[in-house]
């Protein structure tokens, strides 16, 4: 454990990603989408790291910043000891071969004009070091690994079901033996009865190839089952982070509570309290100055509006950013009546 901590595979330090929003006139910026703001995290070798949040929370942008698809506006991303955005072009390309991605939509992630062999072998083809024969042998090997057969080699994506397509996507992702795999909601576009197949395949492959996973999901139950550590994101910020076990045993952030209550529990005898959040996810353009969650938070106080909630370690490997949990920091100016509960907007 201590060894892995010394050498994490991904280390993100104060990463922010902003996207300018263009106004109607050129050269005039309407505003900035703060997709990710000041996020720091480390991912250890061989673990599965969960990123949980709803649409617009920045989880995909964060993952893209990790694999060098989006350049952060601030902060640095260190992958395997190398600062990703300071590498030379060739080194960057070479480093990036160690990372791959599995996409949410298995329909748009495979080129419909390519056959299975062309799709899976493409990363090898691009690298351009292998003969046709080795490529073919490798593709067949991978097809068998993901549960398809040699006979599928010259079929086209349209011949496959959603689950099978996702298997093809997985095969393509691991053909160059990456060490790091980002799974962006890999099952949410699939039929319920094939979810388990794909999740099992992913965990099997991880064991076999000793991969590190980043697993993006909005389903806490899945995250609980397959992840080791996780973060909960809301509007570009980390709300709660830490060991999955610790968080599920003792969820602290009100947002985590809300997400937990949205998960189906097949055990109907247990009556769980349903937390229903008010309002909508606010636009990431000009997010709230204080805690980003205060508008929808059932526990919000006056001070939450203006004072940003710092990430505070509450127990080993468990970080929470919430004034309700941690109390307001002492060093900042708080103003009158900062700890009175915030009146909820009329939204019933």
């Amino acid at each position: 454990m201590s060894e892995t901590k010394v050498n994490p595979i991904v280390d993100m330090r104060h990463v922010s990603v902003d996207f300018p929003v263009k106004g109607a006139l050129p050269f005039i910026r309407k505003g900035c989408i703060q997709a990710v703001s000041d996020v720091s995290l480390t991912i250890h070798r061989g673990e599965t790291f969960g990123i949980v949040g709803e649409s617009g929370c920045g989880k995909s942008t964060l993952a893209n910043a990790m694999i060098g698809m989006v350049k952060p506006t601030a902060g640095e991303v260190v992958f395997d000891g190398k600062n990703l955005y300071e590498l030379s072009r060739d080194d960057f390309k070479a480093t990036r071969r160690d990372m791959q991605m599995i996409f949410q939509d298995p329909f748009s992630s495979l080129n419909p004009r390519f056959n299975v062999y062309q799709i899976i072998s493409e990363p090898m083809f691009i690298r351009g070091q292998d003969s046709e024969a080795t490529m073919k042998a490798r593709v067949i090997e991978l097809l068998e690994l993901v549960g398809l057969s040699k006979d599928d080699l010259y079929r086209y994506p349209s011949d496959f079901s959603g689950g099978q397509r996702q298997r093809l996507g997985i095969a393509r992702a691991i053909i160059l033996n990456p060490t790091f795999l980002v799974c962006d909601e890999p099952v949410s576009a699939l039929d319920v009865s094939v979810h388990a197949q794909i999740l099992n395949l992913l965990t099997d492959i991880q064991k076999k190839l000793k991969l590190t996973y980043v697993f993006i999901s909005h389903n806490l139950a899945v995250v609980k089952s397959i992840c080791d550590r996780m973060i909960v994101m809301y509007l570009g910020k980390i709300m709660e982070a830490g060991n999955v076990k610790t968080i599920f045993d003792n969820p602290l952030h009100p947002y985590t509570h809300a997400l937990l209550s949205a998960v189906l529990d097949t055990d109907q005898t247990k009556q769980r309290e349903q937390v229903i959040l008010k309002g909508d996810i606010p636009s990431p353009i000009d997010p709230p100055k204080g805690c980003r969650f205060y508008q929808r938070c059932p526990k919000a106080m006056e001070g939450c509006k203006t004072i940003p909630a710092p990430e505070i370690t509450v127990e080993e490997d468990h970080v929470v950013a919430c004034h309700y949990v941690n109390g307001f920091p002492e060093s900042v100016e708080k103003g009158e009546g900062y700890d009175t509960p915030l009146k909820q907007q009329a939204d019933e």
């Binding site: 990036r96 071969r97 996409f103 748009s108 992630s109 080129n111 493409e122 691009i126 393509r172």
Partner: protein, 339 residues
């Protein structure tokens, strides 16, 4: 060296296979059959014109044959003023019309796709520049521009083709650009980028093939359009004066007084030529569009299947869904018996 040649060979072989498969799909439609047959016919006529034409269409010295109506020697009669054989002119005219139409169509596809892909894929300043150029070209009225250009540059055959291309690429490049914007954001392009693919690789292997159907359709449709436009230009006297084209035949008929002397064959012959060529290319264009746009195919195809359905067959299928039919010996509680 050998390996390079081999891979180039394989590249073309694969492309060729794709084209053959595509032609097969077009052939599967009735309209496509008509179009392909007619285009093939026109191409044969154009290529073998010297063997097919019984007379020299450029021979204006034969004063004895002025204004003859259709007969066995002169299948479509002769012209009134010069006595040229109209059938031979028609056959040779196929060459000009086809070459102008098809080569403009192909050049438009090339220019339009290159500029469209560049605008869509590279984006930024390149995109702005190309799209503003399109805007400018689209607002300039075509005919006056053509008149000015033909007067300045001359009326050579190839210059006319270039003028058509210079005007015609705009619409196509715009369509291609919007398609490229969609393809560019697809996850398979992202996956290729992740594997270290260069921009060139992505353009050639992922983006350009994605636009190929559109290019074929555009070539067919713009070829047809340009054949008409070429005829119009020649009719106005703006075409190549030395080449025999269908438009020029019409113009000659008009100036030669075909209507005045009742020489209907002189007008109808080039008309049929233009009609056939445009009809053939339009058919192909329409079929390709139908293949491209599955919704169109469905609405016509499924409706046809629906109409041809045997009602007793449907009844059989419905009956086979019944519980009794399937359970056979099972005598247990029947489904649908609710309390």
């Amino acid at each position: 060296m050998k390996a390079v040649l081999k891979s180039i060979g394989r590249f073309f072989l694969k492309r060729f296979k794709g084209i053959r498969r595509f032609i097969k799909r077009v052939w599967a439609h009735r309209q496509g059959k008509i179009g392909l047959t007619m285009v093939t016919f026109l191409v044969i006529v154009a290529v073998f014109a010297p063997w097919i034409a019984p007379f020299d269409p450029y021979d204006v010295a034969e004063r004895t044959t002025k204004g003859l109506p259709p007969s066995t020697t002169h299948l479509l009669g002769t012209t009134i003023n010069t006595g040229q054989d109209i059938f031979s002119m028609l056959v040779y005219g196929t060459r000009v019309s086809l070459i102008v139409g098809v080569s403009s169509g192909v050049l438009i596809a090339i220019v339009g796709s290159v500029l469209g892909v560049m605008a869509g894929y590279i984006g930024g300043a390149v995109d702005s520049f190309i799209m503003r150029l399109v805007d400018v070209l689209l607002v300039i009225p075509t005919l006056p521009l053509v008149i000015v250009l033909t007067n300045v540059l001359g009326r050579d055959f190839w210059i006319i083709i270039l003028i058509f291309v210079a005007i015609g690429w705009t619409g196509l490049s715009r369509t291609i650009r919007s398609l490229v914007l969609v393809l560019k954001n697809s996850n398979y392009v992202k996956a290729a980028e992740l594997s270290g693919a260069s921009r060139f690789h992505i353009m050639i292997r992922h983006i350009l093939p994605g636009t190929s159907h559109l290019l074929i359709m555009s070539t067919a449709l713009s070829s047809a359009g340009i054949m008409v436009a070429e005829a119009g230009l020649s009719f106005l006297g703006l075409g190549d004066p030395t080449a025999i084209s269908w438009g020029k035949m019409l113009a000659d008929a008009q100036s030669g007084g075909a209507l005045l002397f009742g020489a209907w064959w002189w007008i109808i012959a080039p008309g049929i030529g233009i009609f056939m060529a445009v009809f053939a290319f339009m058919r192909i264009g329409i079929v390709v569009e139908e293949i491209l746009n599955p919704r169109m195919k469905q609405s016509s195809g499924v409706y046809k299947i629906f109409k041809n359905l045997n009602s007793s067959y449907v009844e059989d299928v419905f009956n086979s869904m019944d519980e009794h039919a399937q359970i056979g010996e099972a005598s247990s509680a029947k489904g649908g018996a609710h309390g």
